[in-house]
Amino acid sequence: MDSICATYRRKLEDEQISPPLAAILSLTELCATSNAGTMFELVKALNEGADFLKQHSSNPISLNAGCELFIAFVTLFPHDSASFSDLKMELVKQGEAYVRQALTYRRKIGELAVDFIKDDSVILTHSYSRVVMETLLLAHKSKRISVFVTEARPRGLGVKTAEALTAAGIPCTVILDSAVAYAMEKVDFVLVGSEAVVESGGLINAIGSLNIAIIANAANKPFYALAESYKFHRLFPLSQYDLPSHNSRMLSFPSPLQRDRPSPDQSAAQASPFSTTQEEIAKNNPDVDYTRPDLISLVFSELGSLTPFGVAQYLVGMFAG
C-alpha cells in the first residue's frame, strides 16, 4: 500500500501532472500490479488504494476527483476480453492514454479562454495555476495584457506566478491578499484555476478565491474559472464547513485556559502569549474554500465554456444517469 503513495508522489514531481492525473496514474499502476482475479476484487483494491491515498494526502479533494473518475471508468468498462489479465492490461493502457490526452486539455482551454481576453486587459489571478499560466502565456502572444497576482498566503505561490510571468515579459504585480478590493477597480476580469469543480457548479480552489469572487461580484467584474474536466467532482458542499477538507481543528478557538495562563503573573518582558508566526497561523487555517456558483461567470473546460449551471447539468448527467 505504501507503494501507491510513493508512486503518487513520484508522479507529482512532474511539473505537468496535477493531483487528479497523478491519482489516475497511481491507480493504473495499482491495476497493473494487483493480483485481483475478478472485477469485484479489482474495484475493491482500487477503492482501498484510493482511500489510502486520501488518508495520506493533506488536501484530498482534487485527488479524489481523479480516483472517482478512474474507478467509475473501470466499473463501466465493458469486460469482454478473453482473460482478466488482458482486461487489466487494457485498463492500464486506457488509463495511460487518458492521461496523455488530458495533458493536451490545458492547451485547449487556453485557446478557448483567449477569445475572452481583450487587448489591453488587466487580469487578476490568484495563487499559482498551471492552466492559468498556459492561458496567460498564450494570450501574451497576440494581446497586450497585464496581470495582478495575489500573494496567496500561506503558501505564497503568487510569487511563483509573478516570476514566471515577468520572465515571459508580461507586466505583473504581486498584491496582498487583503488588497484585492483596492485593486478590483482597475481589473477587467478575474481568472482563476481550480482544485475541483463540484456538482452545484461551484468551485473549490486555494483559500482566498471566495474573497476574490465576492469582491468581483460586488464590483460587477466577471469571474472566470479554468478547469480541466478531470477536476469535475461529484460533491455537493452546502457551505465551507461542509467541505471534506474541513476538520474540527480548523479555525477552532484556543481554549481560554491556555490563553490566560501566561498573562497575569508573568512579566511583560516575555513575548506575547500568542505565537504569531506564519506557520502557527497557517496551521489552523483552511487550505481551500468553496465558491458558490452564483458568483462565477463562466467555467472554461476543454468541453467548452460552460456556465456553472451547465457544469451542474454535465456532472448530473455524468454521474446520476
Partner: protein, 459 residues
Amino acid sequence: MSVPTTSNEVTASGLSSQPSQKNMSKAERRELQEKQRAAKLAQKQQPQTADTPNKPKSKPKPAAAQKKSSSGPTETAQSSAPDASRSHPKDATSAPIVDGEATSKSRSLRIFSHFGLPKHGHGAKGDIHPCIVKLALQFSEFRISGANARCIATLTAFKTVIQDYTTPPNNTLSRHLMTHLSPQITHLVSARPMSVTMGNAIRQLKLEISGSDIDMPEQDAKDLLCQKIDDYIRDRIIIADEVIQDFAGKKIKDGDVILTYARSSVVEKVLLSAYRQGKRFSVIVVDSRPLLEGKALLQALTSAPPVSWTLSNDSLLPPPPPIPCTYALLPALPSLITEATTVILGAHSLHSNGAVFSRAGTALVAMMAKQHSVPVLVCCETYKFSEGVMLDGFGKNELAPSHIFQTIPTSPLTPNLEILNPLYDLTPPSCITAVVTEVGLIPPSSISTIPMALGRINL
C-alpha cells in the same frame, strides 16, 4: 380547538352566509360540499342532490344556521350536532334558498374557484370497488394524506381491484382492464384531486397493463401486474427513501440545528436514521395551521429512541436522550431561522424548472432561509418529478376542505367572511440549495436533466 385567526387565510369576499357545518353529520357535510362545488361550477345547474335521501335535511340548513347565529356562537351546538340538525324545521322554502346560495357561493373566492375543483365523476359508469370507495373516503377525510402515503395506498388498492377483476368474454386483459380501472381512478379523483405521485404511478401502471402479454393466462397476468406494482413501490419509494436517508444524513453533523416545516415522511426518516447513526443534533419543527402536521413529526421524533440500556465495555450505558426538539408556529420563524444550520424540507412534487410544490408555508421557510444564508435541502424521490413547469402556486392548488379543518368559528359578525386555506405553495428554485434524490444531491436548476438521464420520459 379555536385558535385566533390570521388574516392571510381569510378573504372577505362573497355574501354567503355559510351555514354552520358542525351541526351536520359527515354524510351531510360531504353532500353540502358537493352541492357547493356543483353550484360553483355552473350557477344555473341544479345541485345534484335529488337522488339522495338526505336532501330534505340539508336544504333547510342556511335557514337553520341563520336562526341559530342570531342566538349565539355556533360553537355551543357542537356537541349535540345530530339532535340539532334533526330538530330544525324541514319546511323551509328550499328551492329559492338553494338558488340564492348558489349565486353567493359562486361569487365567493372567485379567483380561487379553480383550486381543487373535483371532476364530477360521481355516479360514474361502471361499478366502484369497495376498497376504492373506502380509500376515497379516507382521502376526502384526510385520514391518508401525504404524497407517498397516498400513492402507496392507491397502488395497494389497485392491486385488490386487479385481483378481483375478471376479463369479460370476447375481450383481453391488456385492452379491457384499463377501462375497468378508469372509473375507479375517477372516483378517487372526485374525493380529492390526484397527486403528482399518483399520476406518475398510474401512468406507469397503464403502460404495464397495455404491455402485458395477450396470450398469458389471466391469473398469471394479474399476478404479474401486482408484482410490478410491488416493485414500483419498493424501487421508487421504499428503497429511494433509504438512499435519500443516506445522502441527506451525510449533510447532518454533530451539533447541527435542523429546521423543518410541517411533516414529510422522508424528512422524518432522514432525521431518525441520522440519529440512529449516532449523530447528535437538534431539530426545530415549524408548523402552521390549519393542518398542524408538525405535531405528528414532533411525536415521532421525541418518542424515537429505543429506550434500552446498552452494554459496552462491561458498563451499562443509559439510552441516548431523545432528539432535542423545538416546536414553533410559522410566525416565530424569523427569530428561529438564525439558530438553524440547515433547513430540510419535503416535497409534494418537483417540476422541471426546479420549483418545489409543497405544503403551504414551505416557500416562506425556504425564502427566509435564503435570506439568512442557511442551506435549504429538499428531500424528494425521483418519482415525484413532474415534467411540467410551474411558476406560481395560483395556477394549480387545492383548498383544505373547511368542514374538516374548521379553523375559525363562523361568527355572526362576519357573514361575508370566506375562509381560504390553500394546501400547497410553490418554492422557486432560487431559494433551494440542493434537492436530495436517490440519484444524489442535485442543484434545482439541473432537475430537468434527471428524467432524461434515467430514460424515463415516456412520450
